[in-house]
């Protein structure tokens, strides 16, 4: 409860016990969870406070929605294929705008030293920041719900296919964001972080393209490097499997692994700084 001098509402919370001195210096798991949620809440608040994030959400919805509606009226089929097809490419432009600030901004405004001397593990910080950007992305994606609603009003779309496509988009977004977070951790300039993320994600996208794979295979026929990259590195073929309406466990595991590797590399960057 705030005292008489404070005009602010009372703070809420249960940890540590109210009114008691925090004499215990150990780090119980609930303490870690409490700190993680604090970082998460601050990051979320920052997203909603920053005009760039709101602009991202609005432009993303307008561009993807606009492209879909155009196709929808031309083809006249109550399906979302035309919505999901260009998403892997469009997300390359939009998702780095969300994650570019995660670490680069901390370095840019010098709060990085403060953050790294708080009693929080690097993993706690990395996962909290990542979770905040991912939730913001999912909230933005939820803004496409009116399209689904419209399709059900106008026809009988394949619900299973739509669900699988959303799952695939969520998985692809998880990978894209993880890569962008890693690249943000390498920079102290948000614009540089954005541009390098777009470049790397574009390369990642290109490796999933049949034509690119064919060209690379042609360059080194014995190595079959194009096929290798498409099968092992690129998340796009996995997304396309989901977009066909298949809830692919192999694809889900791939997204999980491909999301975890950049975050692990981010941890390496943070530790290397010491």
């Amino acid at each position: 409860m705030a005292t008489a001098q404070s005009p602010h509402p009372p703070l809420r919370g249960t940890f540590p016990q109210e009114g008691k001195e925090n004499k215990d210096f150990s780090l119980p798991w609930r303490d870690r969870v409490w700190v993680a949620t604090t970082v998460f809440r601050r990051e979320m608040a920052a997203y909603f406070d920053l005009p760039i994030a709101s602009i991202f959400a609005i432009v993303f919805l307008l561009v993807t929605g606009g492209m879909f509606i155009n196709d929808f009226f031309l083809v006249g089929v109550a399906e979302m294929d035309a919505y999901f097809a260009p998403l892997p490419m469009l997300m390359i432009l939009f998702l780095p705008a969300l994650s570019m600030r995660s670490w680069a901004e901390e370095r840019e405004i010098n709060t990085y030293e403060f953050l790294r001397t708080l009693p929080v593990s690097p993993w706690n910080l990395i996962l909290s920041k990542y979770a905040a950007s991912y939730v913001f992305f999912l909230v933005t994606l939820a803004g496409t719900a009116p399209i689904v609603f419209m399709l059900y009003r106008l026809g009988q779309p394949d619900g299973g296919k739509i669900v699988a496509s959303y799952v695939g988009t969520a998985g692809l977004g998880a990978v894209y964001l993880a890569v962008s977070h890693y690249l943000s951790s390498l920079s102290r300039d948000q614009i540089v972080a954005y541009l390098t993320s777009v470049l790397v994600l574009a390369l990642l996208y290109a490796t999933g393209n049949e034509l690119v794979a064919g060209i690379l295979d042609g360059l080194w026929p014995t190595l079959q490097i194009g096929t290798l990259l498409r099968d092992i590195v690129s998340p796009v073929p996995h997304f396309e499997t989901f977009a066909l309406g298949i809830l692919d466990l192999h694809g889900a595991l791939f997204f999980l692994l491909m999301g975890a590797v950049p975050l692990w590399m981010t941890h390496g960057v943070l530790e290397r700084d010491r």
Partner: protein, 246 residues
Amino acid sequence: MMEKRAQKESNIVLKVDRVTRRFGRVTAVDDVSFEIQPGEMVGFLGPNGSGKTTLLRVISTYLLPSSGTVLLDGLDVRRSPEEVRRRIGYLPESNILYPRMRVWDYLKFAGEMRGLCGKLLAERIDSFVQALQLESVLEKRNGECSKGFRQRISMAAVLLHRPPVILLDEPTIGLDPLQLFMVRDFLRELAKDRIVLFSSHIMQEVAAMTQRVLLIHQGKLIRDAVLAETGDGARQLENMFKEALV
């Protein structure tokens, strides 16, 4: 003013043993050793680039020592960084404020990051706001505050959990004379039952705040001195520096 608790922490000792920190071929801190007991306020004095900031960063766990050990309450900064961080309040020389956050929200965030919440956190914030006279800026964004306010907000943010060990890198930079006196009193009060280690490159500042001074030059600890209670402290420091460098 600050509540006089933290009795439990009063037996915490800071021990720096033969610490060296290199950046590539540059040795920023070179074989430095010292020990600080509870209730001591110690000033790090040295010219710009002498290694003060690097050493504070090593003690604060932000940087790892290339060799040597730093023990705080018996905990090694290398092995138990999180445990050490729970026991320190570290104010870096660089900005620690998120410019778009409002002051009160920022203090709440800083407290929550130390595991404080509820009534306890609100009371802590209020006591620091009063002690450091921050009432008038609570609703402002950090970026809108003057340098003096920003420095005091930063100080409140790193001390909310009442750490037994306080590390301050150039804490009085940007303060006007009145703010300077207030912060000095505040730090002296804190140092009664805690370890306070601060850095400065201004002799008068160090002499005004403490009697024990660690003189550092080109990464080496050249003198661990106690100033005489009588006489001009700044002049004593000047003489010590000259003697040590000759």
